[in-house]
């Protein structure tokens, strides 16, 4: 029996100890009418050898195309040590560290993570992770409404330069509590928040403004001016950032005169594989004054009976297992193992290394845009500074061009036509430090051929 160690003798003797005639008798409190006689729809069990072969076949079907898709999930080099240690049983198969004395490893690691991510984002405190970037934006909006001392408004401004899926997750998650998310247009020339459209909200009672930097198009927003404007209007500022970019970009804690109030983002770029979308982790940091409004677990350092330093979960009175219906969030299980990987990644890559990853990604992406815009019928959509992504406009339908590229083993980018139909045929492309000059040249050549083929069709 897979993973069940009992011998027949064990079963006999255990039943005798219990005083039950059979295992079946242990279910005698369940109404007989509800009992089932088997699971016919489940296939026969497989040995480990057989499942290994099956999974290898399935994996082969997925292939290994050359991908230039970003749009919220980014391919980066992951040091071998990251997952070698993360998957050690002592991390992998431990529970949430409620028994502090038997969980000092996980607890200290979370404390070190909190230190690193707080410093990276320029904020004072961090929680121990949320589900992903999208759910982190939703939780940040709920937190802003809760933490706002002067306004009871349920309105949150989420400009259209914020990842469209984050906006969707925020609406499905926080809409049930009455939060209203209002969009703000972007400028066609530089793909950044339209300050005139934003000015229309001046003087209104709104809880928070969400600012994504770099924004969904890869463009850099004028975060100082936006932050100061929002604060003048009495709004809190929720920063949504790419952690890799923060090696080079001003951290949210330093935006404008007083800094953003809550900072969230997708932690995946920090050592987490793309893996079809998860598991990733959301990070959240804030100012100390808001720590009691923050959802999720938090680790604090304290001392034991002998005065020795140790770590424990703290401020648990915010959480569901204590506060039940009045908790800051219903979150319980978070993404601990991914936060573990990210902590090891940040340690191995270091401050210098992260700057180099960010710089190399910017460089590669700049070279990619240069190469692709040499192709006839392809141009950059926006002016202005970018990080490692860019929007390209094509004079032929993006979907047809992408299909053509796919036959060449290339995933050419993310088609923006569903989320931003006003752009026409537009592609969001990304290159990071993992791409070589040869990869970029291969894409440029293939794109030329693909556009031509679509034009001829």
């Amino acid at each position: 029996m897979p993973f069940i160690p009992h011998t027949e003798q064990d079963v006999r003797e255990m039943l005798a100890t219990i005083g039950a005639p059979s295992i079946d008798a242990l279910f005698d409190e369940i109404p007989a009418s509800l009992r089932i006689q088997g699971l016919d729809g489940i296939p026969e069990g497989l040995s480990e050898m057989e499942i290994g072969r099956l999974m290898s076949e399935r994996a082969r079907l997925d292939g290994r195309p050359l991908s230039f898709i970003g749009a919220g999930a980014y391919e980066h080099h992951i040091p071998s040590a990251v997952w070698a240690i993360t998957t050690r049983g002592e991390f992998y198969s431990a529970y949430t560290p409620y028994q502090a004395e038997a969980s000092q490893g996980t607890l200290q690691l979370i404390y070190e993570y909190q230190t690193m991510i707080s410093s990276l984002t320029g904020m004072e405190v961090s929680n121990a992770s949320l589900y992903d970037g999208g759910s982190a934006v939703a939780e940040a909006a709920l937190m802003a409404v809760r933490a706002h001392r002067k306004s009871k408004s349920l309105r949150v401004l989420v400009p259209s330069t914020v990842n469209p899926n984050y906006r969707r997750v925020a609406i499905s998650t926080a809409g049930n509590q009455g939060l209203r998310f209002e969009s703000v247009a972007y400028r066609r020339e530089d793909g950044c928040i339209d300050r005139e459209a934003l000015a229309a909200y001046a003087g209104e009672d709104i809880a928070a403004l969400v600012i994504q930097q770099p924004n969904f198009f890869g463009q850099l927003e004028d975060v100082d001016a936006l932050t100061d404007w929002a604060h003048e209007q009495g709004m809190l500022v929720i920063a949504v950032v790419n952690p890799t970019s923060l090696a080079l970009l001003k951290p949210p804690g330093e935006w404008g005169k007083t800094g953003a109030d809550i900072c969230v983002g997708e932690g995946q770029p920090l050592g987490v594989p793309l893996s079809s979308g998860g598991p990733y982790f959301g990070f959240m940091t804030t100012r100390m004054e808001y720590v009691r409004s923050m959802p999720g677990r938090i680790v604090g350092r304290t001392v034991d009976l002998d005065g020795k330093l140790g770590y424990t979960l703290t401020l648990q009175a915010r959480e569901q297992h204590i506060r039940r219906g009045k908790a800051t969030s219903n979150i319980c299980t978070n993404q601990g193992l991914l936060m573990t990987a990210a902590t090891i990644y940040m340690t191995l890559i270091g401050p210098q290394g992260l700057s180099k990853v960010a710089a190399a990604s910017m460089q590669r992406s700049g070279e990619l845009v240069e190469a692709l815009t040499q192709v006839k019928g392809v141009r950059a959509a926006f002016n202005g500074p970018r990080f490692h992504e860019a929007v390209l406009l094509l004079d032929r339908p993006a979907s047809a061009v992408l299909r053509e590229l796919e036959t060449q083993g290339i995933l050419g980018g993310f088609d923006l036509s569903v989320d931003y139909p006003e752009l026409g045929s537009a592609l969001l492309v990304c290159a990071t430090e993992t791409k070589t000059a040869g990869d970029l040249a291969r894409y440029a050549t293939a794109l030329g051929a693909a556009v031509q083929k679509v034009r001829a069709a």
Partner: protein, 495 residues
């Protein structure tokens, strides 16, 4: 257990040291920075450690050794189903093609992954008796959220707008009332009777035209099967409400009875419990949801569909009534792959035996602890996959609490059971052995418990000051909350 505490990673840090082989060659930081407008640049480097690769590997390996885990210790944490996490599930979910696949890659570049997800949906439908499944929610509480949001959407779609009350038994997990609140509902708690079943009279009084639904765990958090489930279903459905099944305890009944057959309209499954994906020191989980036919249109997207021999994501376009997206992409894909692999290895017969042997182990430990002099919270009842010991008598007679027992167990190499949950049983220990533990391990645990009881009778102080062999002794939680120390700071820093 390693007695030596590990210093902070920041104390290893030396300016200028790095794991150079991990850095991209030829990166030109200065010229990248030049392309960023001066006002948008970072001025001060983040405080990340500057260490060698060996420093990092040794530090985090040592940290890992300070943990209890399933791989190293029996971990009978009630309601958490700490069963063995097969290594194959991890290895084959981490094949390079699976790891490299971008979430926005076209369906044509993911037929292998999508076929696994489709089959996982089908298998989960079969073992729960539900009509349709969505794999999106990323944890149990996230699945609860999806479930209650669907209940609300269902009532709204029928124009039944007054239904905003969620009924929750007082023994429920804290996530249940917290979820109801997150969905904008009002929570109504109802009592359970002396035998641990829902108080039907109280339920009859609680239901009405405002009832959106009831959230139930079955077997309940009291470690017993809810025997009146059919009457509960009848009462709630009769009042126009729906039934939500919290899958925290699904391991108890896997292969024996199905939530769909009990009358539940929506359920979540904790794949990190019943289907053996790792707990990871706090996640990631996966909280797939299953629904009856009437809730199918509201399932969160995306869902994997099959057309001929091709698999594709179904989105908002295919499911216009969906409650929407709960994650930026499609939930914890890699966790779902692990659950798929586990289910395929178990197969039809293996899956039926999970509930049987989990129940056998729980009833065995319960019987032996009773013989050893422990009091059971529900001595007249069968254990499900878990059961409750109450230390109420010992607390009074010997001045030892459930917490003291829990801490002393650590010294014997056993992780503590769940303590002080459910809240309505005083001084309780909720014990869940799981089916993957051998009789020898269970016997050793019983011996440790009996020994500890003897110690309590001889000198309670041994327990009150436990643990004695862990890296740290009991920690000052009050100080942790009052003098908040949440990030490491250099010794010389003013902060």
């Amino acid at each position: 257990m390693n007695q030596i505490l590990e210093k902070s990673i920041f104390e290893y840090s030396r300016s200028g040291r790095s794991a150079q082989v991990q850095q991209p060659p030829g990166a030109d930081v200065a010229s990248a920075v030049e392309k960023i407008p001066a006002a948008l640049r970072r001025s001060k480097a983040p405080m990340l450690p500057e260490v060698s690769e060996l420093d990092a590997v040794r530090h985090f390996t040592r940290l890992s050794q300070l943990n209890f885990s399933i791989d190293t210790n029996f971990y009978p944490l009630g309601s958490c189903t700490m069963k063995y996490n097969p290594k194959a599930c991890n290895q084959y979910a981490m094949l390079p093609e699976f790891l490299a696949r971008h979430p926005l890659a076209p369906d044509s570049q993911g037929q292998g992954f999508l076929s696994c997800m489709f089959e996982l949906q089908e298998m989960l439908k079969e073992v729960t008796g539900m009509k349709a499944v969505s794999l999106n929610p990323m944890a149990g509480a996230h699945g609860e959220f999806a479930g209650v949001a669907m209940i609300r959407a269902y009532h709204r779609a029928r124009g039944d707008l007054a239904r905003n009350e969620i009924i929750v038994p007082e023994a429920a997990h804290g996530t249940n009332p917290a979820t109801a609140t997150m969905c904008g509902c009002i929570v109504k708690e109802i009592p359970v009777d002396a035998q641990g079943d829902v108080d039907l009279d109280a339920l009859a009084k609680a239901v009405g035209p405002n009832t959106a639904g009831i959230m139930l765990t079955n077997p309940s958090t009291l470690g017993v099967f809810e025997r009146k489930i059919e009457q509960v279903a009848k009462l709630v459905h009769g009042a126009g409400g729906l039934l939500y099944y919290d899958g925290a305890n699904l391991n108890a009944i896997l292969g024996k009875v199905r939530p769909g057959d009990m009358g539940f309209d929506v359920i979540h499954m904790n794949l990190h419990k019943t289907f053996s994906t790792p707990h990871g020191g706090g996640g990631p989980g996966a909280g797939a949801v299953g629904v009856s036919a009437r809730l199918e249109p509201f399932l969160p997207v995306p869902i994997v569909g099959r057309e001929g021999d091709q698999y594709r994501w179904l989105s908002e376009v295919d499911r216009p009534q969906s409650i929407g997206r709960l994650s930026a992409f499609m939930g914890n894909a890699g966790v779902l792959l692990r659950a798929y692999i586990y289910m395929r290895m178990l197969g039809r017969e293996g899956m039926s035996r999970v509930g049987e042997y989990a129940t056998l182990n729980a009833n065995y430990v319960m019987a032996r602890l009773r013989q050893a002099g422990f009091d059971l919270a529900y001595p007249e009842r069968r254990a499900s996959h878990e059961f409750i010991v109450t230390m109420k008598r010992q607390a009074k007679e010997l001045n030892v609490t459930a917490m003291d027992i829990a801490k002393r167990l650590l010294d014997y190499g056993f992780h503590a059971p769940t303590t002080y949950f459910p809240l309505l049983v005083p001084e309780c220990l909720l014990i869940e052995p799981t089916e993957t533990e051998s009789r020898e391990t269970l016997d050793a645990f019983v011996v440790a418990m009996a020994t500890i009881l003897g110690e309590a009778e001889a000198d309670a102080n041994t327990l009150k000051t436990a643990p004695h062999t862990m890296p740290v002794r009991r920690l000052d939680d009050v100080r942790a909350a009052k003098q908040l120390d949440l990030t490491w700071k250099p010794v010389n820093s003013a902060a």
